[in-house]
Amino acid sequence: MAKTITLEVARYRPEQEGEPAFENFDVPLNKDWVVLDALNYIKDKLDGSLSYRWSCRMGVCGSCGMMVNGEPKLTCATFLTAYDPGPIRVEPLRYFPIVRDLVVEITDFMSKLKAVKPWIVRDEEKPISEGEYLQTPRQLDNFKQFSMCINCLCCYAACPVVGLDQHFIGPAAIALAQRYNEDSRDQGKEERMDVLSQHDGIWGCTFNGECTRVCPKNVDPAGAIQQYKIKAVTDWYKSLLMPWGKK
C-alpha cells in the first residue's frame, strides 16, 4: 500500500458538541498534494461532513487559510511532504470565532475593511473623456506591494494584539489603508487618518512583526503600520508647529 500521512483535523459541530475536538484521518501521501487536497480527499472519500472553505486552489482567492501545525498557512500552497512523517494538525484560523470545523467567522474583519475607506477619494473627479490619471511605474511601485493582499487573514491569526484586543483593526486593513494613501490618484489620507489614529488603529500595534512573517503574498503589513505611525507623528508635530496650516 502507498504511503500515508495522518491529519489531525479540528472538528466542531455546534449542534452536537460544546467545544472543538480533533479527529484523525489517514490520507495518501502523494508528493503533489497540498493540505487542501488531503482535506478534499477526506471530504470525498472518508467523511462528507467535514466543512472548510476553498475555491481557486492557486493561492489567490484567499479562502483556504488555516492553522497547519500551529502556523497560519494557505492550505492550497502547503505541501504534505513538508510535514512527512506527520502527523499534520489542521485547525481553524486562530483568534477568530469558530463557526464549524475549519470555518471561522469573518464579518468583523469585513467591517474593519470597510472602516478604512478602501477606495479612491478625490476632491474632484476627472471625467472619463479626459482619459486616465497619469501614474509613473515608480508611483505605482510605491503602493503596489500593499495592493497584493488577498484577505486570507493569516496575518490576523498571527497577531497577538488581535488575540488580546478584538477591536484592533488589524494588519490587513491598515495595509489596505496605506495602499490607498500611497496611491498618487488618492486624496483621502486625512479621512483615513481620522479612523486609524485612534487607539484601536495603528497605535494598537506593538510591531511584533508576525503579520509580515506569515504573509503568503509578501505584503508586509507590519511595515505599512510603522510607516503610518511615523506619518501620524509628523502630522501631529506639523499641526503643533503650524496650527494655521492645512490639516
Partner: protein, 581 residues
C-alpha cells in the same frame, strides 16, 4: 418563512456582479441592491484571471480592428452588433476602473501600458502585471463598499429563481452560516454566477464554478445559448490545471514539442520568429493551439508524464528580469506548485478546460426572454465570444455587460409595482420544503456525490472534449442521463444547519449535471466544426446550416430541446480564419 425585498438582486458577486451593483447605485442611489453570493465577493473566480483585459487605447489601434479580431476569433459566431457595442464601450469601462484605483501597469510616462495577446492584431490588452483579475476584482469590491444602497448577502447560496406569470420575482437562498432558507424578493434579477469549468475533470476553474446560474435559468424556463462551445486553454500545468497565462507567450514564450521544435508552424499558424508576431504562432487563437496539441499527441511528439501528456512552454530566453517584471505570478505559481523555476527550466503544459463561451441567452441589453431576468459575465451569452473567445475579452465583457445589465435591470425595476406576493411566497415555501426533504433531512440514499461527479467529469472529457463525434457525444449523453437518475438517490450524511458544505456540493452537482446535458445536446445537434467545437465526423464549417446560435431549452418533462437563432452580421461577412499571415 423569512423574506426580504429589494429592487434589484444580483446572483453573484464576481466582476460582473459587482460592476452591475455599482452601475445600479450610480443610476439611482435610492434603489436597493442585493448582492447574493455563495462566497465572499473578493473570493469570486474573477480573482484568478491573470493576463489582462482588452480595450483599444493606443493611437495605432482601431475599434474596427478589435471587432474584426473578435469576430474572426469567434469563427463568425459572434453577434456583430454586440461586438461593436462591446468594443466601443471597452476603453471607457477600463478607464473607469482606472479612476477607481485599479493598479494598471504603466508606461514610463505614466500612461496605461498594453500588451499583445492571442488572436489580437494590435497590442490592446491592459494588464496589472499578471494578476489582472485579482486587481480588478478587489478594486471593484472595495469601490462597491462606498455605496450604502448595496446590501450584501455574503455566503448565501441560491437554489431557485422565483418566477410568477412569466416574470422573475426573486430567489430562494440558504444562508450558509445558519442554514436559514429565505426568499429574497426583487423586481429584477441579474445572473452573474460565472462559468462551469468543473463539469470537466481538468480545468483552470475554481471549485465554485459549477454553472449554478445557467442551471437556475434553464429550470426557470430561459434558454441557454451556444453551450457546445467550451474553450480549452492551451497552457495549463499538469495535475493542478493551474493556468499559465497567455501573457507568457505574448511576452515571447515558445511552445515546444518533445524534440524542442516549435510545432505550431505545422498547423497553419505562421512561421517561427524569435520575437512574438501578433496573430501568429504562439499568439494564435486558443482553439487552434489546443487542437494542434491533440494532433501533436497523435503523432507521438508530446512528452509523457504521470498526469497525462504535455508539451513545453519555454520562457527562459526572456531572462529573469523580464519574467519578474511582466509575469511574476507565472514564476510564483511554477515555483510553488510545480517545483520548477521558469527562469531556468521549461514549463510542462497541456490544454485545459478554461472558459464557457455559451451561457444564459441574452439580448444586447443583457435581458433574457424572462421578464425582469438579466444575465452578465461568463454565465451569460450575448454573444460576443462566438465559437471561441479571445483571451482578455472576458474581463472587459464583465465590465461592459455588467454595467449594461445593471442599468437595464435598474430601469426595469423602477417601472415595476409590487407583484402578487402571496403566489410567490407559496412557491418559496415549496422550495424550502424541497431543500429540506430532498437534501437537508434526507436520510436514505446510496449514491456518493464525489462518485457521480467524477463519472460525469470523465464522461464529459471523453465525449465532449476538444474533438467530438456523434458516437462519443451520444455515449456521454447516455451516461449523463443515467447519472441524473442516480442523483435522485444521493446520500447526504451531513444534516447540520451550520455551514453545510455537503449540502451545497449536492446542489452544485445537480447544476453541473444540467449544464453537462445542455452542452451535449447542443454539441450533438451542431453537425459542423467551428471554433472550439470540432467534430471529426463533420470537419468543415457549414455556414449554410449552422451560422446560427444554438438555444437549448428544458421541456416540461425534463428533456431538452435545441432551437436555432440566426447570428447577427453587420459589416463582416463570414470568411476564412487566417492566422500567421
Amino acid at each position: 418563512m423569512d423574506t426580504s425585498a429589494h429592487d434589484v438582486l444580483l446572483v453573484g458577486g464576481g466582476g460582473a456582479g459587482l460592476r452591475a451593483a455599482i452601475a445600479i447605485s450610480e443610476f439611482n442611489p435610492k434603489l436597493s441592491v442585493a448582492v447574493v453570493s455563495k462566497v465572499y465577493p473578493m473570493r469570486s473566480h474573477t480573482v484568478s484571471a491573470e493576463g489582462g483585459a482588452a480595450g483599444v487605447i493606443k493611437p495605432n489601434d482601431t475599434l474596427d480592428e478589435h471587432c474584426y479580431d473578435t469576430i474572426s476569433g469567434g469563427d463568425w459566431m459572434c453577434d456583430q452588433d454586440a461586438v461593436e457595442l462591446f468594443v466601443r464601450e471597452a476603453p471607457k469601462e477600463l478607464l473607469r476602473l482606472e479612476h477607481w484605483g485599479c493598479p494598471w501597469s504603466r508606461e514610463p510616462d505614466g500612461h496605461v501600458a498594453v500588451r499583445p495577446f492571442g488572436g489580437m492584431k494590435n497590442e490592446r490588452t491592459w494588464f496589472a502585471a499578471d494578476k489582472t483579475g485579482f486587481h480588478m476584482l478587489h478594486t471593484l469590491f472595495q469601490t462597491s463598499l462606498k455605496y450604502p444602497s448595496v446590501r450584501r448577502y455574503d455566503e448565501w447560496f441560491v437554489t431557485k429563481l422565483l418566477i410568477d406569470d412569466g416574470q422573475v420575482r426573486g430567489v430562494v437562498a440558504i444562508e450558509l452560516m445558519t442554514g436559514r432558507i429565505q426568499a429574497i424578493l426583487a423586481k429584477s434579477v441579474i445572473i452573474c454566477t460565472g462559468g462551469c469549468g468543473k463539469v470537466f475533470p481538468f480545468t483552470t476553474n475554481a471549485n465554485i464554478k459549477n454553472g449554478d446560474g445557467m442551471s437556475l435559468a434553464l429550470r426557470a424556463g430561459a434558454p441557454l445559448k451556444d453551450m457546445e462551445f467550451v474553450q480549452y486553454h492551451p497552457t495549463g500545468l499538469p495535475f493542478t490545471g493551474i493556468l499559465i497565462t497567455e501573457a507568457a507567450r505574448a511576452e515571447g514564450g515558445w511552445l515546444l514539442n518533445k524534440d524542442g521544435y516549435r510545432y505550431l508552424q505545422d498547423y497553419n499558424l505562421g512561421k517561427p520568429e524569435p520575437t512574438p508576431v501578433l496573430r501568429s504562432m504562439e499568439l494564435g487563437p486558443r482553439d487552434r493551439l489546443s487542437q494542434a496539441f491533440v494532433k501533436e499527441y497523435e503523432k507521438g511528439r508530446t512528452i509523457e508524464t504521470p498526469y497525462g501528456h504535455v508539451v513545453h512552454l519555454d520562457v527562459r530566453h526572456l531572462g529573469e528580469k523580464k519574467i519578474n517584471a511582466k509575469i511574476p505570478f507565472v514564476r510564483e505559481l511554477c515555483l510553488k506548485y510545480q517545483g520548477i523555476d521558469p527562469v531556468r527550466e521549461m514549463i510542462p503544459v497541456r490544454p485545459v478546460v478554461h472558459y464557457m463561451m455559451g451561457g444564459v441567452s441574452t439580448d444586447i441589453n443583457a435581458a433574457t426572454p424572462i421578464k425582469g431576468l438579466f444575465a452578465a459575465g461568463e454565465a451569460a451569452c450575448v454573444s460576443i465570444n462566438g465559437a471561441n473567445r479571445l483571451g482578455s475579452n472576458s474581463l472587459t465583457e464583465l465590465l461592459v455587460f455588467g454595467a449594461r445589465a445593471g442599468l437595464h435591470a435598474a430601469q426595469f425595476a423602477s417601472e415595476q409595482k409590487e407583484g402578487n406576493t402571496a403566489a410567490i411566497l407559496a412557491q418559496a415555501i415549496d422550495e424550502k420544503r424541497r431543500v429540506e426533504d430532498q437534501f437537508l433531512n434526507k436520510t436514505a440514499g446510496r449514491e456518493s456525490i464525489s462518485t457521480i461527479r467524477e463519472e460525469m467529469q470523465k464522461a464529459m472529457e471523453e465525449g465532449a472534449g476538444i474533438y467530438r463525434t456523434h458516437d462519443s457525444l451520444a455515449k456521454a449523453a447516455e451516461t449523463i442521463g443515467k447519472l441524473q437518475e442516480r442523483f435522485k438517490d444521493i446520500a447526504i450524511s451531513d444534516h447540520s444547519h451550520t455551514f453545510n458544505t455537503e449540502l451545497t456540493a449536492a446542489f452544485e452537482l445537480s447544476y453541473m449535471l444540467d449544464v453537462a446535458e445542455a452542452i451535449i445536446a447542443c454539441a450533438l445537434n451542431r453537425k459542423e466544426s467551428r471554433g472550439s467545437h470540432q467534430r471529426t465526423d463533420f470537419t468543415k464549417r457549414d455556414d449554410e446550416k449552422f451560422l446560427a446560435h444554438s438555444l437549448v431549452y428544458r421541456n416540461a418533462d425534463g428533456s431538452t430541446r435545441v432551437e436555432y437563432l440566426p447570428v447577427t452580421i453587420t459589416r463582416w461577412p463570414p470568411a476564412e480564419r487566417v492566422y500567421g499571415k
